[in-house]
């Protein structure tokens, strides 16, 4: 019933994302959109590191790339990643939001507008509040909202900021997130 999963993370989220990607089934029937804070000037390496253990293909999409199920799309360095009409990725070099490009908020807001109640938004560990506004929008559009349990987060600021702004549907540990996603099939 869901059409997409969008995940936002910053400091301390890398291992969590890796673990989730390694647990997802190869025949996953939705796309996974990854908006993760990363160094602006380092364009390569991050994708490769994520791919090492991932069970599904990960793509750093080109602009206007068609979004397909069973794949993860990683926001490229120094670009915002939007969900465009027609189920495509749109990239942007507009000004950083809260010092971040990619901005988790912008990926979440545009995903919420595109997928509405068919979207799962997940906020992971991080040292700032990017993503909390975006998760609020996911909720507003009746999507499902999940945050990583702050007690498990390496840095809990991002989870807590999201929980402060939104009555989230689930507060889950990494394993619980994985179990939940596996049951979606």
């Amino acid at each position: 019933m869901y059409k997409a999963i969008v995940i936002g993370g910053s400091a301390g989220s890398f291992q969590v994302v890796t673990k989730i990607l390694s647990a997802l089934p190869k025949d996953l029937n939705v796309p996974v959109l990854l908006s993760l804070h990363r160094l602006k000037h380092v364009r390569s390496g991050f994708l490769e590191a994520l791919m090492l253990k991932s069970n599904i293909p990960i793509i750093e999409p080109d602009d206007k790339e068609q979004i397909k199920p069973g794949r993860a799309y990683l926001a490229p360095a120094n670009y915002h990643m939007y969900i465009e009409l027609g189920n495509r990725i749109a990239l942007s070099t507009e000004e950083p939001v809260n010092h971040s490009r990619p901005s988790i908020d912008l990926s979440f807001v545009t995903a919420a507008q595109a997928y509405r109640d068919k979207l799962i938004g997940i906020i992971l560990s991080g040292a700032n509040s990017d993503g909390s506004y975006g998760l609020q929008k996911v909720k507003e559009y009746n999507g499902l909202t999940i945050v990583q349990d702050p007690r498990e987060c390496q840095v809990r600021t991002m989870s807590e900021a999201a929980m402060k702004l939104t009555q989230v549907d689930h507060v889950y540990t990494t394993d619980q997130i994985i179990n939940f996603l596996l049951k979606l099939k």
């Binding site: 080109d62 465009e84 990239l91 942007s92 545009t110």
Partner: protein, 273 residues
């Protein structure tokens, strides 16, 4: 931030098309909608209707409006490896293949970041006086901004870092001054640059261009408009001329596929056939 719908976005597109002849109907909708929301917020207009009234009643407002609508804010020397490649390989080869004169075009310019980066690089290569640089922009406001040399302070740190990574010869602050908290770039760098306010789809475009810097502009277009603009750009260029687009922009499925050869995958640099 206010949130506007697709219908309201299309209404605004219609107004500026009918009244001012700016056609944004083939722009990518998500980013366009977001920038309209931002303009509504920044100008304290509250509702799309108020923006439409202002656009209708106040013709002068169209210039800053178009400027803000097309701002694809980046930074100076974005992708330092591209600037290194341009300086060390692309430009010398280009001059070998097509002669010493260097006609360069920057279509859809807004902030001047790309322009000043280019001017500084050419200056450090002792090529600035030999080059003829043409800048096209959609709005008067954008041209005034570029001519003034003003740069947003928020871009300073990353621009300085980029310049170092691009192997700049001096230090970037040599090329700007900081007065009353405002950064102004050295406008003697652009004294020979020719600025034109133009819609390149409907007005005459330059000819015999050897280098086109067109990075991260197509991302704001839909694929239909991307194709049309690429064709226009192709027709302005000399054979073996160079086109640089954004690292995550692609022309492989577009008009460009048959008409350009990719010569750097990592930096998205193409040679015109």
């Amino acid at each position: 931030m206010p949130e506007i719908g697709i219908v309201e976005t299309r209404n605004i597109i219609n107004v500026i098309n009918q009244k001012y002849n700016y056609d944004f109907s083939d722009y990518a909708l998500t980013s366009l909608k977001r920038r309209i929301e931002k303009i509504i917020e920044q100008n304290n207009l509250k509702y799309p209707d108020i923006l439409i009234n202002r656009l209708t009643d106040e013709p002068q407002f169209i210039h800053p409006f178009i400027d803000q609508l097309t701002t694809g804010s980046t930074e100076m020397f974005r992708d330092p490896s591209l600037w290194r490649l341009l300086r060390e390989e692309i430009l010398p080869t280009l001059q070998n293949e097509t002669g010493k004169d260097l006609k360069i075009w920057l279509p859809f310019s807004v902030s001047g970041d790309e322009l000043f980066s280019l001017a500084i690089m050419l200056h450090e290569m002792n090529l600035l006086d030999k080059a003829s640089i043409l800048v096209s922009a959609l709005s008067e406001t954008s041209i005034e901004t570029m001519k003034s040399g003003i740069m947003l302070n928020s871009k300073e740190e990353i621009s300085c870092d980029n310049y170092v990574r691009a192997n700049g010869k001096l230090a970037l602050p040599k090329y700007y001054t900081l007065t009353d908290g405002r950064i102004t770039r050295d406008i003697s760098l652009i004294k020979n640059v020719r600025f034109t306010k133009q819609n390149i789809e409907t007005e005459p475009v330059p000819q015999n261009i050897k280098l086109v810097l067109f990075r991260n502009k197509m991302i704001y277009f839909n694929t239909t408009l991307q194709n049309r603009i690429l064709k226009t750009i192709y027709n302005t260029m000399v054979p073996n001329g160079i086109l640089a687009i954004g690292t995550k922009e692609s022309i492989s499925t577009l008009y460009g596929n048959n008409n350009f050869i990719r010569i750097s995958k990592t930096e998205s640099i193409y040679k015109r056939k």
